[in-house]
């Protein structure tokens, strides 16, 4: 019995995740199933809809597999936001493994209708701006595109003017001065050509970065359940922590390319020293506290989730 699965996602084929994670994943699954599973890969939202609809499309079974950004549907995956909190992220690989373990524990009920293949994160996000950001004060009045709900809130708190625009609009907005910069990981600077548009990139000393975003790679539950056991096993073998690790590794790999590109362009890469980083962490505390209070208000254990997230990341970085 042969199975054809439609995989729908928002990025073009050349981007890091499709190229270095999804396509290799497809190849492994097809080979290990002895050719009985065939995956049709539809990149760039070819099957219609806007990226935020992907989660619903796989829940409904309109497509069989999706890869999406959890933050595109604010409110739908609130527990994932623990990993988006400031200074949570280590490398993408370490954080992704930690996040997968966290999701296995805390997010069991967050994906109704879906069989989660993997969840993961990207590498540490940086501030990419025209004017250098060497201290907290430099943020004042700077128009920045914020990446996630949580980080956008933080930027506002730090005195920046957070502009909420879609990612594809960023290059034009930066080049024309509608915004002064954007907060994204190195990997995303490549498709957006940020190294050509801005001259400064600000990261942080130590083994934690400013923020990360969370991603979901999932299959329709009914479709998964209907697979014969041996094919289920093929999917299972390519799910969970090890799949998350590979996705994270792909992000790390491309982060390096993004950083090299900025160096080639002769841009300034600022690494805020320990003292300044401490100031930022201090300034970010209210964001974390606010998030915990918000989750508590929704009847979730905010503090517990943050603690678990920190511990899991720490365990991976040891």
């Amino acid at each position: 019995q042969d199975v054809t699965l439609k995989l729908h996602q928002l990025l073009p084929l050349k981007a890091a995740i499709p190229d270095k994670f999804i396509n290799p994943w497809i190849e492994r699954v097809q080979t290990q199933s002895g050719g009985r599973i065939k995956v049709e890969h539809y990149p760039s939202m070819q099957l219609g809809g806007k990226p935020p609809e992907l989660a619903q499309q796989v829940t409904d079974g309109a497509v069989d597999i999706i890869w999406t950004v959890m933050g595109y549907t604010p409110g739908r995956f609130p527990r994932a936001e623990a990993f988006e909190l400031p200074f949570m992220v280590a490398t993408a690989e370490e954080t992704s493994v930690a996040f997968q373990k966290y999701a296995d524990k805390h997010m069991q009920n967050d994906f109704p209708g879906m069989q989660v293949l993997a969840v993961h994160t990207h590498g540490p996000g940086l501030i990419h701006s025209k004017a250098p950001v060497s201290s907290l004060e430099d943020l004042k009045g700077m128009k920045l595109r914020g990446p996630t709900r949580v980080i956008t809130g933080m930027l506002e708190q730090l005195g920046a003017v957070a502009i909420g625009m879609p990612v594809p609009a960023v290059p034009e907005a930066v080049s024309k001065g509608v915004i002064d910069g954007a907060v994204i990981p190195w990997e995303v600077t490549l498709p957006l050509k940020m190294a050509e548009l801005v001259g400064n990139h600000t990261g942080f000393e130590g083994d934690r970065g400013l923020y990360t975003a969370t991603f979901l790679f999932a299959m329709n539950k009914a479709r998964y359940d209907a697979l014969p056991d041996d094919l289920k096993k093929v999917i299972d073998d390519n799910s969970g922590v090890e799949a998350a690790r590979l996705a994270g590794r792909a992000m790390d790999e491309v982060d390096k390319i993004g950083m090299a590109k900025a160096q080639q362009a002769g841009n300034t890469i600022i690494t805020l020293d320990a003292a300044e980083t401490a100031r930022w962490k201090e300034a970010a505390t209210p964001v974390v506290d606010g998030w915990i209070a918000e989750m508590d208000g929704k009847g979730m254990d905010g503090a517990g989730m943050v603690m678990d997230a920190r511990d899991l990341v720490a365990a991976e970085t040891k």
Binding site: P52, A55, P74, G141, K143, R149, T152, V161, G164
Partner: protein, 173 residues
């Protein structure tokens, strides 16, 4: 009877179209204010928070408001390639069929919009900056979508009447 219903529905769709138009004027004002604020950050002003989201939700509602009027006014693009060869009888029948198809499609869109609203409600999805629930945007469009279905259904009746009474059809603009 016919002209009463016709009058009421024409009035209703015109009213909705006007409301949509006013909404469009409001969007214009919002954008102008927000951009001006953004340009005057140095003077302590700033953009209107969530302006992108408001433009999106506002445009969606405006477009829904425009649909009944466009159907009532026969405003959809159509093309007469074979129409002249087919004669008035066939064309009248086709007009009924097409308005019927439009009604079915409009009802389908409304039904799915309703289902979409329930998804957004069920999963608590919010917008990105203002964090208002996405289902609100859907919810305001639902009654307008219902008027669209009603108007489409009425245009079926209108086409039927015109098919039986070519004089009335000829009298139209």
């Amino acid at each position: 009877m016919y002209s009463t219903i016709s009058g009421v529905l024409t009035g209703l769709s015109r009213l909705l179209a006007m409301l949509g138009g006013i909404l469009l004027l409001a969007i214009t004002a919002l954008v102008v204010l927000s951009v001006s604020g953004r340009a005057l950050i140095w003077a302590g002003l700033g953009p209107i928070p969530g302006d992108f989201e408001l433009v999106e939700a506002g445009t969606a509602l405006a477009v829904f408001c425009f649909l009944p009027w466009c159907q009532m006014e026969r405003g959809h693009v159509s093309v007469d390639v074979f129409a002249d060869w087919l004669g008035p009888r066939v064309n009248a029948v086709l007009a009924v069929l097409f308005d019927l198809a439009m009604t079915v499609v409009a009802a389908f869109i409304l039904w799915r919009l309703w289902a979409g609203m329930q998804d957004k409600l069920q999963y608590n999805e919010t917008t990105y900056i203002l964090q208002f629930p996405v289902w609100w945007g859907y919810a305001v469009c639902v009654p307008v979508g219902a008027v669209f279905v009603l108007v489409c259904a009425w245009t079926v009746v209108r086409s039927l009447v015109e098919a039986r009474d070519p004089g009335r059809a000829a009298g139209r603009a």
